[in-house]
């Protein structure tokens, strides 16, 4: 898939959010989009998914099946988890037993079992986010666009994101993922793009440890990992790796 000299602004009078963006995403690639809040990460991802149309330029060769996980799942809908996923599966042309088995698979996989018959509006933010993830995966996507997918997820669910990304890329799909919290550390082989001042810099080098650096290995309780990583990133430290000790 290619971004071909894309320009985008939200309204005629608004300034350009993105100017002359040209970039290529290869099949099987994982691209992490970095940048400050408001830099235009979400805009770029929505252009990739086809949610937004570029004002000038074009997105070329977008795969036919696109999964998009928005930053905030729209939970204000009168459906239960199962009803919603059934309806979203029907939009993808999935019906009957195939639809049911896909839905069961993702409900199981994402740990949504006890929320199956709960209304979307009554779900916690993280659980609703998982429903958002499930609807994007009902049909294996050729392009998966994840907008801050870790937001609101608990630590147990956070490790699912890299697994799912690996499965999609393993099947030849491309993944575009935005991240402002340094979770990229858990995505081996990811390509880095940076959005700044309305342009996209591709091929941002990963922060390598330099000889003067010292590498610390820390063990922290699950519940505190999020906060600690955010704090360390904010202080300018580079997080190289996050892993789980399995019992």
């Amino acid at each position: 898939m290619r971004f071909d000299r894309i320009w985008f602004r939200y309204a005629r009078r608004a300034g350009w959010a993105l100017t002359e963006v040209t970039a290529t995403v290869d099949p099987g690639a994982t691209v992490v989009v970095l940048g400050r809040n408001g830099a235009g990460k979400s805009t770029l991802l929505q252009l990739a998914a086809g949610v937004l149309e570029p004002v000038r330029g074009a997105v070329l060769d977008r795969p036919p099946v696109v999964g998009w996980v928005p930053e905030r799942f729209p939970a204000d809908q009168p459906f239960t988890t199962e009803q919603y996923l059934t309806a979203m599966a029907a939009l993808r042309g999935l019906r009957g037993p195939r639809s049911r088995s896909e839905i069961d698979h993702w409900i199981e996989r994402l740990g949504l079992g006890e929320h199956r018959h709960i209304r979307l509006g009554a779900l916690s933010k993280g659980t609703a986010q998982k429903v958002g993830l499930a609807q994007a995966l009902l049909v294996p996507p050729g392009l998966l666009v994840l907008d801050e997918p870790w937001e609101g997820l608990d630590s147990a669910a956070r490790t699912l994101v890299p697994q799912i990304v690996a499965e999609v890329t393993g099947a030849g799909g491309a993944v575009l993922i935005s991240d402002h919290r340094g979770e990229i550390a858990s995505l081996p082989g990811a390509i880095r793009w940076s959005v700044q001042n309305g342009t996209v810099v591709t091929g941002v080098p990963a922060p390598e440890p330099v000889p003067e650096d010292v590498i610390l290995e820390l063990a922290v309780p699950r519940a505190e990992a999020d906060q600690l990583m955010a704090r360390l990133s904010a202080e300018g430290h580079r997080i190289l790796r996050v892993r789980e000790e399995r019992a």
Binding site: G50, V51, L52, V66, W68, P70, P74, Q77, A87, M88
Partner: protein, 231 residues
């Protein structure tokens, strides 16, 4: 997939209760029109169709605006831009047709349709003309409501302005002696035609249908063109 999306939206509309406001408004309108004694079928349905036009437009706006913006965009990613916008209009037409059945049945059930006097059309023919008048009003209402939806107008205020201004213009520019009758759909013209005794020739109705089709087609094409850019 367009049908699946239209169905999903109608289910959400009914379950979420958002259908209630336009539904009640429509029933009130029907009660007012038909509550005042008996009248011939054709003219009763002619009034009903014209009075329900703004209700159909509002119903369409409610159908298109019921979903959160992000859900509309998720649907767009799933089925594509063209099918997503078509599914909205389709859901509105389905809801409007269901209400048309109610609008045709209410005066019959209430006994508001009087037996035809000499020179008037039969009740059966009057019902047929009534269905035609309602379908034309529904088409015009769906067209106006589509361009008043949040995805097109972006703000609630602009949406309401389009809906109200459009409804008023359809009435004002549809009056006898209007300066630009062709600029609005023939909602008032159809209502007048149904009140005439005897009713105009089939040719006259064919002209009205053609006029309505061209007007609705043009406005819906505008809606589709705008929605290609605005998700």
């Amino acid at each position: 997939m367009t049908i699946a999306l239209a169905r999903m939206r109608l289910v959400a509309l009914v379950r979420g209760g958002r259908i209630l406001a336009p539904l009640i408004a429509g029933l009130v309108v029907l009660g007012i029109i038909h509550g005042g004694g008996q009248s011939p079928a054709a003219s009763a349905y002619g009034y009903s169709a014209a009075m329900l036009f703004p209700v159909f437009a509002w119903l369409t706006k409610v159908v298109l605006d019921a979903e959160p913006d992000v859900q509309r965009r998720l649907a767009r990613v799933a089925v594509g831009a063209a099918r997503e916008s078509a599914a909205g209009a389709l859901a509105a037409v389905a809801a409007g047709l269901a209400f048309t059945v109610v609008a045709i049945a209410v005066p019959l059930v209430m006994g508001a349709i009087g037996p035809p006097k000499p020179g008037e059309t039969s009740i059966v023919a009057g019902v047929g003309l009534g269905v035609l008048a309602h379908v034309l009003a529904l088409g015009a209402g769906v067209a106006l409501g589509s361009v008043a939806c949040r995805a097109v107008t972006r703000t609630v205020r602009n949406g309401v302005v389009v809906l109200v201004t459009g409804s008023v213009l359809v009435v004002v520019l549809g009056l006898r002696g209007s300066i630009a009758p062709w600029s609005v759909p023939p909602v008032m013209a159809v209502s007048r035609a149904l009140a005439e005794v005897p009713v105009p020739s089939p040719g006259a109705f064919l002209l009205l249908v053609g006029w309505a089709v061209v007007w609705c087609g043009a406005v819906l094409a505008g809606y589709a063109a705008v929605r290609r850019r605005r998700s």
